[in-house]
Symmetry: C2
Subunit: 196 residues, 2 copies
Amino acid sequence: MPKIGMEPLRREALINAAISAIAEKGTLAVTMADIARRADVSSALAHHYFGSKEDLLAATMRHLLSELGADARAAVSGKSGMARLSALIHVNFSPKQFQPETVAAWLAFYVEAQRAPALRRLLRVYTRRLHTNLLVALEPLMSRLQAERTARGIGALIDGLYIRHALAEGPSDADTAIALVEDYLSLQLSRKEGAR
Amino acid sequence: MPKIGMEPLRREALINAAISAIAEKGTLAVTMADIARRADVSSALAHHYFGSKEDLLAATMRHLLSELGADARAAVSGKSGMARLSALIHVNFSPKQFQPETVAAWLAFYVEAQRAPALRRLLRVYTRRLHTNLLVALEPLMSRLQAERTARGIGALIDGLYIRHALAEGPSDADTAIALVEDYLSLQLSRKEGAR
DNA sequence: TTTTATTGATTGACCAGTCAATCAACCCTA
DNA sequence: TAGGGTTGATTGACTGGTCAATCAATAAAA
């Protein structure tokens, strides 16, 4: 039990505790005491390292965001065309990202982001990144206009499936979700151009 | 200024005030005092009529739900086939239902429903109703399996577009959303059966 | 000894829910 | 038609509890 260099360990533990607490309560309205308890420290320590609840939550969201970003980067690296598109879709439903805990936390942040400018900006980063990635991958395969629409459709579809996943009673499975999105993608790809 | 028979008026005012407060704060964590102030009554009166905050919020969600149900019933009445499907899609994006205020409130309820069994049950009613309505309208037009998938896709698409609407900065418009969903529907309808 | 880690105790704000007390309408009946 | 009683409407003030944030104190490492 080292007593030195605890900061990074505590920060990580507190962020994970925050995700778990948020997922369990289904809202950002969890207490610092609850989060701290899950990380096996006092609430005072949580304040010591993060300054305020708002800062801890922002750090938690940033953590979620950067994990997803890293996963996405790893998934598409070296791929192009359809393989890249498919990989892009798959990350969002990978066991790690589609974990009920993670999805519930995402959803809570989504909602809170409406009125919290800091969270809102963070969320926009994710939305834009996904959209851009999709667009770049789609543009060689269809018209710009159709690519734009398809990217928007896939984005909305993913968000919708996340919500439904968070609310599902039984174990809604990732494969079905992936199949739904890929089906949408393949329909767009097979569309007769000009069939406006 | 009648002093009698105020109950229905107050209940309605309080429910509307709740919607407005929830939409503005973006969460169900609004105070009874805030809601009551918006309805121009004391918080004590809100408790008098609704018993508890939880009851007021449940009543508010029921109100949202029944409004949407009524709109949907009116929209599809007398229609069948494609017209019925189109009408079903359109209600969700009608000016009344797609109002930022309404959408934000819906979203807040969605999230809170994760851990509030009462709200969860209410929400399930809506989800099932939409799904069933879509399914019934789709089945004459395609295979059962494809109808199932298409209904799920439309539902997820609508949810996703709602989220994005709630978070949009500028005035994201309903027509684009409708076009996106109808495009998805028309792609599913024009699919070559057996092209599994 | 200085710095880092850590906590229990405390503070100040906020909030749901309760209650006793007013006020206004309506309903008798003499 | 003038009271007197009843009931619904309404509120201000209060209570018990919760929570974020602060702080002073302790312990251990450097």
